[in-house]
């Protein structure tokens, strides 16, 4: 199975959408989706990780939320880490969780370390984005959750997986575990990670430049999308706002790549706005919110929201993250920081870690040209690279899930 995929992925692979922008937005068509259980017994929990009190305006994020699904008897436990800004219970996170659960794992699903909830509840600095710091925060959380669940689950072994930024985080967590050995992960699966964070965030920021007329025209752009959804909604017999409706809206819009890119950019922009504003409130850095202004539970955040939506990840990097890191490490240059936030930084470790596997797509939108080759070089035979799928568009397909589960197979993993 593995060799067959590796040697000739194109021959065995039937994911149909060749346009990576369209693939990223619409995902996998229903007939090609892997059959997965829909009745996984997810339980939602929250846990207090840090002593620190949450600021008034973010009071509801004092505890870190996560979900888990337990097998009846003894089983290996897998942690999953969500992508950029996503929550533990987002659709991709639970898709992965359902897949692993069907393979016999206890699953613990964690949100992204750059999600607002994680930043408030579990980021020790409150300024997320540093690969090593984020891994330490995740590692602390994972140990805490393991302690909480140990009475309820019989755990035979530990596995780790992540998608998108969560896959990047997983590599650094595994690197940390190699040193601290709290888990000793049997296998680690990285699904569509970025290689060099700064490249990926630059690509994603630029996608929003595709809004016709520029960001001041955002209102019109938004109206156009709402109109299309509205038309689909009027024509539809269903009263539900669901995926089906989105597909219909796309048929009406017949979106160009520019429009698709701006939609993808918008999704990431919302994530960056949430992250940057949250980090700002946590530290009173004075990035968007005046440093001497205290927000109450009732404060109208409208203007901050608008400002945050105009700023990308790269703004956060240059005007907040870098100055903050440089205050901790005098002499640190921007260039050094940019190069450090990369899988190449732990390249020697990844090259030698024969328990870490990679799945990726040649046409993934978060990779710069040449980066897929870097990954193939780092992971060698432990890399599976599909020819189509964009960024996570093929994740629900039979091929992708099949590969995920053949890598993460408690029966055969050494």
């Amino acid at each position: 199975m593995f060799l067959c995929f590796w040697a000739a992925p194109a021959a065995a692979y039937d994911y149909p959408i060749a346009d990576p922008f369209l693939a990223t937005v619409v995902g996998t068509p229903a007939p090609l989706r892997a059959p997965l259980p829909t009745d996984v017994p997810f339980k939602r929990r929250s846990t207090r990780v840090l002593e620190r009190e949450a600021p008034d305006a973010l009071w509801y994020d004092q505890e870190l939320r996560y979900s888990y699904a337990a097998q009846k008897g003894p089983a290996p436990l897998i942690f999953t880490i969500a992508g950029t800004g996503a929550a533990h219970d987002g659709s991709k996170s639970w898709l992965a969780a359902r897949a692993f659960y069907s393979k016999g794992f206890h699953v613990v699903a964690l949100g992204s370390p750059v999600s607002a909830n994680f930043v408030v509840a579990a980021s020790s600095s409150g300024v997320p984005g540093d690969s090593f710091d984020d891994a330490r925060d995740l590692y602390r959380v994972m140990q805490k959750i393991r302690d909480e669940l140990q009475g309820k689950l019989e755990i035979t072994d530990y596995y780790l997986a992540g998608y998108s930024l969560g896959a990047f985080n997983a590599a650094y967590v595994s690197h940390l575990d190699a040193e601290q050995k709290a888990f000793g992960f049997r296998r680690v699966l990285m699904m569509n990670p970025p290689v060099r964070l700064y490249s990926s965030i630059s690509l994603l920021d630029r996608m929003l430049e595709n809004i016709p007329g520029g960001p001041d025209n955002f209102d019109d752009f938004f109206e156009k999308i709402v109109d299309a959804v509205g038309q689909a909604y009027r024509r539809s017999d269903s009263v539900r706002f669901d995926e089906e409706l989105l597909f219909k809206a796309f048929e009406i819009l017949r979106p160009t790549d520019e429009l698709l890119a701006s939609l993808i950019g918008l999704v990431f922009r919302i994530a960056s706005a949430n992250m940057a504003f949250t980090a700002d409130v946590m530290t009173d850095f004075g990035y968007i919110k005046p440093s001497n202004v205290r927000l109450t539970r009732n404060t109208d955040l409208g203007v901050y929201n608008e400002v945050a939506m105009r700023l990308g990840f790269t703004d956060y990097f240059h005007a907040f993250f870098y100055p903050y890191r440089a205050s901790l490490e005098p002499g640190l240059s921007r260039g050094e920081l940019i190069e450090r936030m990369s899988l190449v930084t732990i390249g020697d470790y990844l090259r030698g870690a024969d328990n870490i596997y990679l799945i990726h797509n040649v046409d993934d939108l978060i990779l710069e040209s040449g980066e897929i080759e870097i990954l193939e070089d780092l992971f060698g035979e432990r890399a599976t690279v599909f020819p189509r799928g964009g960024h996570m568009g093929n994740m629900e397909s039979r091929d992708y899930i099949g590969r995920m589960l053949s890598i993460m197979d408690p029966g055969t993993a050494p």
Binding site: V226, G230, D237, P290, R294, T296, L301, A308
Partner: protein
């Protein structure tokens, strides 16, 4: 009006009184003037540009408090009870209860479709009710969907909207959640109409009212995926406001 109606009416009045005290939405400034942030609104935002998040919300202080109150009730009461209900109720029974209420509420949809002069919705919804109340055993089953009859959902807020009434100020209703002045009034009318219909059709005994209301609340909550403060954004109040307002606009245009 029935016993539950009178009781909930006075509860709402007390809530409104409590929630409308002290409603400033301004932040607290430490020191004389705010320190300008790196990216101030003056630096980043063009004057005169409109934003999709802008919704007429003059009662924001009140609304934010009610929003938080609703979140509290939801997390500590409604969700745990609903989870319990879903855990003990076999899935087919749960579906049947949901079908039953959907079928019953379709009577109100027919009424509003008449008021909206929409023969298509009147005919289709009447067809649904006829099929599901007979073949579907008082609405417990839903053969109408399998027969391809579309399900509409029309309430008095939508009817007012059809008649040209604008939404008015955004309004977060205690326990019921985000709405508008128009739709809040509409919800009151719907509630009255549904109660009268229920009394006309079924036996208006107190135990019956209690069971009905309890099941209705549980079924409604069980079919809404939303969880307060779990949208992942510190701007949730504003995001929900925008989505609800947009959704209602589309509902009316539909």
């Amino acid at each position: 009006m029935n016993a539950i109606g009178r009781y909930s009416g006075s509860v709402v009045l007390v809530l409104l009184a409590v929630l409308s005290t002290g409603c400033s939405t301004a932040p607290v400034i430490e020191g004389g003037e705010p320190e300008p942030p790196v990216f101030s609104a003056e630096r980043v935002l063009q004057p005169g540009v409109t934003h999709p998040g802008d919704v007429y919300d003059p009662w924001q202080g009140f609304n934010r408090r009610v929003y938080r109150f609703n979140a509290f009730v939801d997390k500590n009461f409604l969700l745990p009870v609903t989870n319990g209900y879903q855990a003990v109720t076999p899935a087919p029974v749960e579906h049947s209860i949901h079908n039953f209420f959907t079928n019953f509420l379709n009577l109100n949809t027919i009424l509003n479709s008449v008021l909206q002069f929409s023969p298509r919705k009147v005919v289709q919804t009447t067809g649904r009710v006829a099929v599901n109340s007979t073949l579907g055993v008082l609405g417990l089953f839903d053969p109408a969907t399998r027969m391809g009859i579309p399900q509409h959902q029309e309430d008095f807020g939508q009817t007012l909207g059809r008649w040209g009434v604008g939404p008015g100020p955004y309004l977060v209703l205690p326990l019921l959640g985000p709405s508008s002045l128009r739709d809040g009034i509409g919800a009151g009318v719907d509630w009255y109409v549904n109660n009268r219909l229920r009394e006309e059709i079924f036996a208006p005994e107190t135990w019956h009212e209690v069971v009905w209301t309890t099941l209705f609340i549980l079924d409604t909550r069980a079919n809404v995926a939303f969880r307060y403060y779990e949208t992942g954004t510190p701007f949730e109040y504003r995001m929900v406001r925008m989505l609800i307002t947009t959704k209602r606009r589309l509902d009316i245009e539909r």
